[in-house]
Amino acid sequence: MIEFSRVSKVFDGRKAVDELDLVIPQGELAVLIGTSGSGKSTTLKMINRLVEYDAGTLRFAGEDVRHFHPETLRRRMGYAIQSIGLFPHWTVEQNIATVPQLLHWPKPRIRDRVTELLELLHLEPGQYRGRFPHQLSGGQQQRVGVARALAADPDVLLMDEPFGALDPVTRAALQEELRRIHALSGKTIVLVTHDIDEALGLGQRIVLMEQGRIVQQGSPLELLTHPASDFVRDFVGRSDIGIKLLALDRVADRTRHDEAVGGEPIASSSTLREALSAFITRKVDRLPVVDEQGRPAGTLHFCDLLEAQA
């Protein structure tokens, strides 16, 4: 879907992106991560031509992005940044309708699409469509930002630290939301972040960048179990690697379905990291597991946390 081959970008004589090779296949959720100044945002912005690259080739859907008219290209790609990106003088509905209006969709179709998206992002349409951004909480604003990026059903979703300004609870909720939307729509998503937990939690492919180059790319498991260098090991959190590995798997994967114990249950959709925390705080070695509907689903044993890793 998106192919970088030896792409470079120079700002003031300094290479912000240096001969980057990267292929993001259709339907993948790729996370670009790195310290500030690593070139991750520049890389993202080259995809929709907010930044023009200097050397190499960058293809979208098989064609050089330079062959597209910039506005046409951008309207085929959803774009979301931190919550301040909503237009403050427009209502939620007008904000979401931005791109469909640019594409001259008929009014009833735009209205239906807004309703659909508000429902998808768990915002009651009747209550929220007429509100202005300053009447929303940070998390609600960001939901609207995501809805706006999805509005015209784009081929690709580009997100530049979309959850950076949110409190941890809201951020976790929106990450879960994004995971759901990705599973539901199968869209190609490129997300920039500096939060390694966000990257490990969301990304199918993680692209770790430093000084305009890719240091390592791969699945979260690969990065945690086979870090290519000390830099990668430090970045993924040297002493926490074990804990982070646990965060990649769900309770459901390790549940013994034929057993039942008493006590306060844990949801099967929780991560093993959350389960570990529950074991420690409750001082037990067995936890009852319940499914989404709250029905008993079996038991998780403390010793099973060790199993089947790497």
Binding site: R74, Y79, G85, Q135, L158
Partner: protein, 272 residues
């Protein structure tokens, strides 16, 4: 604390508490009724033979004054906004420092000096006065335009571009509406100053509310000066309140609070 009124008394109370109808009524009453105040001015200034200005009707002077202000402000607004826009775009950015110094210079020339220079060159009448007023009115408008556009967050501009708005769409759909309150307050300042400054146009022969003031000053007729000055002041106050109204309307979305009650109130106000 306003008393708990309902129906027409409430509406009446709201109108009575609003300064705009009062200043407008005072303006109209004094414009049409100045001759009727002759006994008052005669009593205040017993030494004057003609205590009320009568060369022209005050209605004609107000109209002439307003049309001079309207014309010069229209030119200043068009010029100021366009120039402000231009120096904030990539194409004109290089000229911004030069433009700002030129504006500051135009503001530092007293309009009287501009008149003194322009009148011998292009003759007496309204033309030199218009030039002086336009030059004098440009600065607040251009500054307001630049400040307004500067106040649009870079992230908002970037997201407009990233969503696929072209330069022109980003300008008129996003940047100008967000900058509008600041631009409008620049226009407000410029027009209010213009209403006062337009009186000096009468020194080069244009008819304005400055005529009674100038003639009164040169003929030691304080009554004339007061009559002209009071009308100019009322004109300025009324216009200022009209601009206030316009600013409120433009910024209506900002004042909606976070509750649905706020949203309901907004609908009521705008539907009135």
């Amino acid at each position: 604390m306003s008393p708990p009124l309902k129906g027409w008394p409430k509406a009446l109370w709201r109108v009575a508490g609003d300064p705009l109808p009062w200043s407008f009524a005072a303006l109209v009453a004094l414009t049409l009724g100045m001759p009727a105040l002759r006994p008052l001015f005669a009593a205040l200034f017993p030494e004057l033979d003609r205590p009320v200005y009568q060369q022209d009707s005050f209605a004609a002077l107000v109209m002439a004054h307003l049309s001079m202000v309207a014309l010069s402000s229209a030119i200043a607004i068009a010029g100021g906004v366009l120039l402000g826009l231009w120096v904030c775009r990539p194409a004109g950015r290089a000229f911004r420092p030069l433009f700002e110094s030129l504006l500051a210079m135009s503001q530092s020339f007293p309009p009287v000096a501009v008149l003194a220079v322009a009148a011998p060159i292009i003759g007496f009448g309204e033309a030199p006065a218009l030039i002086a007023l336009v030059l004098y009115g440009l600065l607040p408008i251009a500054q307001g335009t630049m400040a307004g556009l500067d106040s649009v967050p870079a992230s908002t501009r970037e997201v407009a571009q990233g969503l696929g708005l072209d330069t022109w769409q980003s300008l008129y759909k996003v940047e100008l509406p967000l900058a509008a309150p600041v631009i409008l307050s620049g226009i407000r300042t410029s027009v209010i100053i213009n209403i006062g400054t337009a009186t000096i146009a009468s020194t080069v022969g244009a008819k304005t509310l400055g005529s009674p003031i100038i003639i009164g000053l040169s003929g030691f007729n304080t009554a004339y000066v007061i009559q002209g000055a009071v009308l100019v002041a009322l004109l300025a106050i009324t216009s200022d309140q009209l601009f206030g109204r316009l600013e409120e309307r433009l910024g209506a979305w900002r004042t909606r609070d976070a509750t649905d009650a706020g949203a309901a109130r907004f609908v009521q106000v705008s539907g009135r």
